[in-house]
Symmetry: C2
Subunit: 355 residues, 2 copies
Amino acid sequence: MAKQVKIKDIAKMAGVSAGTVDRILHNRGNVSQASREAVERVLSEVGYRYNIHTSAISLRREYRIIITMPTASPGEYWGTMQEGIKHALHEYCDISIDCNYAFYNQFDVYSCRSAFESIPDSAPDAVIIGPTFTEETVSLCSRLDSRKIPYIFVDAAIEGTSPIATFTTDQYACGELLGHILHSITPAGSGFAIFRNQRIGNRSSNNSVERKKGFMNYCRKNGAGQQIHETSFSVMTPEDNEKSVIGFVEKHPDIRGIAVLNSRGYIIADILNRHSLDHIKMVSFDLTSNNIRGIRDGSIEALLCQRPGLQGFLAVKTVIRYLLYNRTDLPLHTLMPIDIVMKQNLDFYREFTEL
Amino acid sequence: MAKQVKIKDIAKMAGVSAGTVDRILHNRGNVSQASREAVERVLSEVGYRYNIHTSAISLRREYRIIITMPTASPGEYWGTMQEGIKHALHEYCDISIDCNYAFYNQFDVYSCRSAFESIPDSAPDAVIIGPTFTEETVSLCSRLDSRKIPYIFVDAAIEGTSPIATFTTDQYACGELLGHILHSITPAGSGFAIFRNQRIGNRSSNNSVERKKGFMNYCRKNGAGQQIHETSFSVMTPEDNEKSVIGFVEKHPDIRGIAVLNSRGYIIADILNRHSLDHIKMVSFDLTSNNIRGIRDGSIEALLCQRPGLQGFLAVKTVIRYLLYNRTDLPLHTLMPIDIVMKQNLDFYREFTEL
DNA sequence: CTGTTAGCGCATTCAC
DNA sequence: GTGAATGCGCTAACAG
């Protein structure tokens, strides 16, 4: 291992003192042009890297970050995201980070507005955003931009904003993968069905839209899904679905594969299960407790998962790297792997094997 | 966040000095029974945790670790493992770790013996072992045990040893999963084939044996694979396989699914591909460059992957936690997730999204 | 056996 | 503008 070059070394090489080098590294001004040039020349030659440990201990300032995303219980998608965040905070417990949450109801735009309202004014050092409503998010971001508060997206990116990093999944690819799986596990000539959830304000989420595109495209290109039927169901009042779902599949007896393009596959799976419609294979999204139950009892064939825990973890890690070590080499947009989880590999998908 | 209690605090509470507390935390001896008890009482009350940053910088000792595993090129299984190790070493570049490799040829027991030979005598602080040959490994471990040198297994565990940690995959579950996938994607009543590779010394690797058990068991329990044919092929001289593979599948026209229980699926896939035998679906193991090619061109349907990179990464991380922060809460045996990689999600499986 | 102390590399005053 | 000085919490060497 090559010996790391230290600030003092650089200072000596550039003929200045350590303090000056530090001022330059941190863009803190009060440096003469001559010193700046000398130091930057040395810097470009030797490739300095912070020692994160010493850096961390002497940085005594407390950082405040705000995390805003939909409310969730532990077993759900956003719950896992929060686990990841907690995990990162724990890993970095030696750095003092004051972390505040601003949760909102992902089905209620008003709750989102009121959650976003006071974020910029509380002047945090950074914000992590799990976005749902486009307009509200754009408006939040522009207020953050004008205060120069950096922010990071998880789960989804929003157009017209400038986050310092984004962690998402390629939803279009998810759709294609879902199409492929359904195609592979159903007999030739099968029909498919897409189940959307009814959204308040009649707008499908962006993620679902992309997934559907990918799914349809795969089917078209590969001759999968002789017929593709489409319907919707209610997440808020699941008891209403029983009749309509059964009616739907009876009306379309060619259906052998169902794609539920959000994380509520278990709702459909439970219904099919109760009626022993096990000639129909179902694939849905995300490793939620309910879906896990569906995988276990065989009512769900597979789940496509996007590592929400890792997303949260990386978001925090990136904030810290940005704020404390002002790293500029952080990837702008990171795409998560799409994990295919079935009964046989389910047990090994605990997030945070990563210690 | 609760304020962390520091060594000085503990010293004050126990009525001793910081040096004494440090000696106790590190089991460095030279402490009176009275002091020890006082400190341990305080410790159990307040729950001390090291500040890894300050700890790291003042730890001026250099640690030497030896990593022994099969030789490999970058795109291969063991190559990815080494990537993970490198990655961890990079993440901890502020700790001086002198890392030496002792590679051996996984097909040559003599090379393994000579690689293991001098490891204990060089008295490293820890050893990371990617084992292949059982006897040789057991012997190495017992020599390490008698010198109290800690070691960690990656990829496989070996009976009759006492590592401080192990990172593997549940190979039996892999076999079941493979059986399930093949079952799902082939028409009812299909026959399957298992391809083993010919091993020098006629011994199948332990991993393959477990995988086969899982596979057979799944098929038996679920009525998958009307017939299960078995044959072997040569990894060392792939050109010999063409005729025998084609002969084999022609002789058994019921075969619609092939399981290659090691990472050499591409060898069979290439042959099937050249002869346009695309009614036969193939599943194999590990994200190697050659297999990736097979996924891309459609000759391999799916790969089961066991995150070798993460294994290497965690092994190093664990060594460091053990050696430097003498943590005792480290998991003894960690099972990796089994990733199912297909054409549609291939591109997102770069290991080390984890920054 | 024990307390004291000098660093570790960096960030941040504070005089100059 | 700049350099020297101080402290972060911990380790390890040293003097008692």
